[in-house]
Amino acid sequence: MDLPALAKRIHHWAVLVEDGILALLLTCMILLAFVQIALRNLAQTSLDWGDPLLRVMVLWVALAGAIAATREGNHIHMDILSRFLPERFHRPMRRLTDLFSAFICALIAWFAARMVIVEQGDGNIAFSGIPTWILELILPVGFCVMALRFLANALFLPQKELAK
């Protein structure tokens, strides 16, 4: 199935944005982690927001990675049944599991959004004046993007996947 031109363009830009954010996050992580150690060992000091920020970045980079994994159909899975079933069942089965995954991700995104709203109301501060809810934002956003990705996979199975 050929993707409509608009969907193709959206896909193209989404990939750039997703991977751009991912590379940026990881680069910042490597630099920040290194600066922390250098400061700690050479100057006996460290950025007091450095360590908590690094820990939050792990979550952000993980979700960015999970989005890329969703896009490429590369999540850790068992894939046993398809080895025993004939070829013609593969595609409908993939559709079904993708739709189901989209549903679950959307559900998690929904509850994550509620969590963020509650957190915003509480007004907790994580560190250095940054409110906790901003750091939590990646959860609703990340799961929402994954839900859309799963849905897109279910509608137009990536050509690469079919070739496998």
């Binding site: 490597i30 979550l59 890329a68 994994a69 398809s82 089965m93 189901f100 994550a112």
Partner: protein, 424 residues
Amino acid sequence: MITALGLLILALMGTPLFIVIATGALLGFYFSDIDLQAIPIEYYRITEMPVLVAIPLFAFTGYLLSESGAPHRLVRLTNAFLGWIPGGLAIVSLIACSIFTAFTGASGVTIVALGALLYPALMEAGYREKFSLGLVTTSGCLGLLFAPALPLILFAVIAQQMGVGRPVSVDDMFLAGILPGLLMIFLLSLWSIKNRPPQSTRPFSAREAWCALKEAVWEVPLPVVVLGGIYGGFFAVSEAAAITAFYVLVVELLVYRDISWRQLPRIMQQSMVLVGGILVILGASLASTNYLIDAQVPTRLFETIHALISDKLTFLLLLNLFLLILGTMLDIFSSIVLIVPLLLPMAVGYEIDPVHFGIIFLANLQLGYLTPPVGIDLFIASYRFKRPIVELFRATLPWFLLLAVSVILITYIPALSLWIPGRL
């Protein structure tokens, strides 16, 4: 029961495992009248575990190394120093692969990065084809027990979450894996010596050794810095990961120039696909484990099993069998986050040391890399060397059996795992 069956079918159909686990947790919380916000809250707990910082950093380092000329330099170096031993090239392969797998976290990268170099070299040196195929396929999981392999880190993280038995630190796991890992290499080396071609030895050349050393001079300090730093107590695991990632980035990008700036985003993306895949499963299983503990499942499971099996040895034997079967179906990362929370309290109930249990668990699951239907190493090797799975399975069989022997030794001789951590 029906829920469990439904989840199993979903998993077998190929639904991503984090979805399956999250579904279980969602249902569990729903039926216990717990607000489903609990799921994202558990996910956010990932930010409360400082050790996890090491996972993306080491994973990136591993992918970066595998894309660079490091595998080539590593093989040349080990060959220059150990190639003169009978069966030398095979032993070189085992050692080089172990070092490499420890850094890349046993994701099969070793077969692609090193196997492709070693397989032709082994054939040229006169080793039989079946032997060489078996070796490169097995090499993908060897080294899993050496620091800083990701499964060791992940096990410690989960064990800390459980808080049963004595506390398990990542450092403990890194130390505990040394002797069991060496045992595996030792047994496989004996097999290699037995299967060496008639004229496999080549004389030691000081000149070649010097050249190889000079070529790899920037990478040689790496294991020393990482292992020495961690084992010597100079820095924490996450700090070692940060130093390694930064150092490798500078060396490969600016000194060796094996990797161009333009390749970097792709390497970052690939390594983070692995990390994201592992961590979304971790987040989901934090939630499901929480539910299971609330429902007292581990305790009840232990009581049921304990009523049937009273002695430790029978339990260990069944543990080995169970993990062997588990390993044929589930990859090592999912197994750790899913099964350790159920089995660790049980093992502690049978008075097995948590660190020893961790090494048994990982060593046992290592076998799963080589067993059909989903032995990942078989598939990667099949793809890389264009051979049918069955042929590769036959070729790896002797290697598999030798690894199984080491798993049994590791299981029944706790000192192998506990002697070194106890000394330091």
